[in-house]
């Protein structure tokens, strides 16, 4: 075997330029595979982070009674003792912060037109620790008010439709906790422009101080939102969320906790499907590299048919001839794969530690704004996969021409011109 390895390796070195060109083709395929995989992970993380930061938090808890009728946003079925739940949650090391929220149906208007909206009542101090509205805010966040609080934050697209801007007054109409109709003027302090179009189109935010007065809430809370610790991998985020939700259900059977995956089955399915298509696309990149290997070994085989004849006349068996060419493919594949891993890692260093500021892309479509920085993620499993795949593809690609060379008899190989 050592002679076969020696012949294969020296033949690769003998045609350095050809081997290098093939290795560079592989390097580009594998390098981009690693980079795109990292970027896909980053995009997934960004999507999940956006849902956590602006809409769902890591975990949502309702009362069972509210949960049964959740779609009609009832204000008479809130959570009984959120203080006890909050204290219990904060004992868990995975829990970073807890905040109460109350949702209600409302109409936002400009004295001429009105648009239905989902109202969110928030406690500004604790809400900031769970959600990150401030990051996507044009204008300012809630500030403590002396006397009656009439501050409101609107989804930017909603404000645009009503022709309203920061500092304008919006008329908010809603049914109070006691089924009375109420309407009042609120001053717009901020406009929310997130990556979630539904939030931008139909959400309004007011404080508990304002809602206690406007909706006669009396401190009613319809949901408790929980922020869990930061995790690198999506699977860890999901596992934490599911496990804390299960613990809440066990400790508070009358509550209805929803893990992130319970609330976002659709998003997770889309992400998975997107990933599959991503992999199909990336595999095409690798297959293009494989064509390069086939071509290199094919040229090598045709150049050396007589040599194959000599080796067979000296006693080489067919499978030894096959191995000789497969090893040639393997050596070129190794070179290409390792160069590709180095290239992918280098690009990833930039993508992970510096990232791509999405603000540069500006507004994409109505109200849908990219914000923040898109960063890749390290995925050692994927780098390893790409390297091993490159080597295996190189060997398989080399096998096809090698087999045809090995099938020739010594006499026909020796006669080959």
């Amino acid at each position: 075997m050592s002679t076969i390895i020696r012949i294969a390796l020296r033949n690769v070195l003998r045609h350095k330029r050809r081997a290098l060109i093939t290795a560079i083709t592989m390097m580009v395929g594998i390098g981009f595979f690693i980079f795109l995989d990292s970027l896909y992970n980053g995009l997934d993380h960004l999507s999940i982070d956006d849902v956590i930061n602006f809409r769902d938090s890591s975990l949502k808890i309702f009362s069972s009674a509210y949960d049964a009728d959740r779609e009609s946003y009832p204000l008479d079925k809130g959570m009984a003792d959120t203080a006890a739940l909050s204290a219990w949650l904060k004992k868990d090391t995975r829990v970073v912060a807890v905040t109460p929220r109350t949702q209600f149906l409302a109409q936002a208007g400009n004295n001429r037109d009105a648009i239905y909206a989902i109202g969110n009542v928030v406690d500004p101090a604790s809400d900031e620790q769970v959600f990150s509205l401030r990051k996507a805010l044009i204008g300012r966040y809630f500030t403590p008010q002396a006397g009656s609080d009439r501050q409101i934050i609107l989804g930017k697209e909603l404000a645009d439709k009503l022709g309203l801007k920061i500092g304008d007054t919006v008329v908010l109409a809603a049914t109070t906790k006691y089924e009375a109709q109420n309407a009042d003027d609120f001053t717009i302090v901020g406009l929310l422009s997130t990556s979630d179009p539904t939030l931008n189109k139909n959400s309004v935010f007011i404080t508990f101080d304002a809602a206690n007065d406007f909706l006669d809430l009396g401190g009613l809370v319809t949901e408790t939102d929980v922020r869990l610790r930061q995790r690198v991998n999506l699977s860890d985020i999901l596992a934490d969320s599911a496990s804390v939700a299960a613990a809440v259900k066990a400790a508070f059977p009358s509550l209805a906790p929803y893990s992130f995956q319970d609330l976002n089955k659709g998003i997770l399915t889309v992400l998975r499907q997107k990933r599959i298509w991503g992999y199909v696309m990336m595999l095409f990149l690798l297959l293009i590299a494989a064509v390069g290997i086939v071509n290199t070994v094919l040229m090598s085989v045709y150049e050396r048919i007589r040599e194959v004849g000599v080796l067979k006349a000296l006693g080489f068996r067919g499978r030894e001839v096959v191995w000789m060419f497969i090893l040639e493919g393997f050596f070129v594949g190794c070179l290409g794969s390792l160069l590709g891993a180095a290239m992918g890692t280098l690009i990833n260093c930039y993508s992970i530690y510096v990232g791509f500021p999405l603000s540069k892309f500006g507004d994409v479509g109505a109200g849908f704004v990219f914000w923040g920085t898109l960063r890749g993620e390290w995925n050692p499993g994927s780098i390893l996969f790409a390297v091993v795949f490159g080597m295996v593809v190189a060997m398989v690609a080399a096998y096809i021409p090698a087999r045809s060379a090995a099938r020739m008899t010594a006499t026909s190989a020796l006669r080959f011109v």
Partner: protein
């Protein structure tokens, strides 16, 4: 003398594009140990076909080939390959050295393939035979660094290193100038005498025929003349 190879009524027919061509039409031949034998004849007379059959690279369509009494036609392809590996060596017209192996590695190659020799034995045999063909100081060179004559010397060393029963040489001097060709023939003669190795070579070259102690003339797939010591 001991007969090492016997061909009885050997025929070989090739079929190409639904046309049959009889390359050998019933060859009877007995070859003794230590012969230095030339097969001559015009192009298409069957020289290469005969060498391929004698070299176990091809099987006859009919008739039998017996090496030391063993009939090749009864061997499986694997047995045939092993027999060839252990007992027969080749010298080619265009040397056919492996370009990425040094002189020493090229000469060692048949022993490496055969896996019958220890590392030390391979080294010793290679050193001796490379010195015997006059290339002792060129063992680490690659074929591209050698002249045509030197390459053919390496090919002779490679053919002889494992002490085969028969060395088959297809036009061994065709690519050499007359002086180098004379040197190569002298070298093969010396090896034949010293080692009692049987040499069978095909040739057009009158000088090569002069060196041969037996000459078999083929014409249209038949032996038309057999002259020399074993005849």
């Amino acid at each position: 003398m001991e007969t090492i190879l016997r061909l009885e009524r050997v025929r070989k027919t090739y079929t190409k594009a639904q046309r049959s061509v009889e390359a050998l039409r019933g060859i009877d031949l007995a070859i003794q140990k230590g012969e230095f034998l030339a097969i001559v004849g015009p192009s298409g007379s069957g020289k290469t076909t005969l060498l391929n059959i004698v070299g176990c690279l091809d099987l006859p369509t009919s008739g039998s080939v017996l090496y030391d009494g063993q009939e090749l036609g009864r061997m499986t392809e694997k047995q045939l390959s092993i027999y060839r590996k252990e007992n027969i060596s080749f010298i080619f017209q265009s040397y056919n050295l492996i370009p990425v192996l040094t002189v020493q590695e090229n000469v060692e190659l048949p022993m490496v393939i055969e896996r019958r020799f220890s590392h030390g034995e391979m080294r010793a045999r290679t050193r001796d035979i490379v010195a015997a063909v006059g290339l002792g100081d060129m063992a680490d060179r690659y074929p591209r660094e050698l002249s045509g004559g030197q390459e053919q010397r390496v090919a002779i060393a490679r053919a002889l290193v494992k002490n085969p029963i028969v060395v088959l040489a297809d036009e061994p001097t065709a690519n050499l100038d007359s002086r180098t060709a004379e040197d190569i023939m002298s070298l093969m003669e010396i090896m034949n005498r010293e080692r009692q190795t049987t040499f069978i070579f095909s040739t057009h070259d009158a000088m090569v025929q002069r060196h041969a102690r037996r000459v078999i003339v083929l014409h249209d797939g038949l032996v038309s003349e057999d002259r020399g010591e074993a005849a």
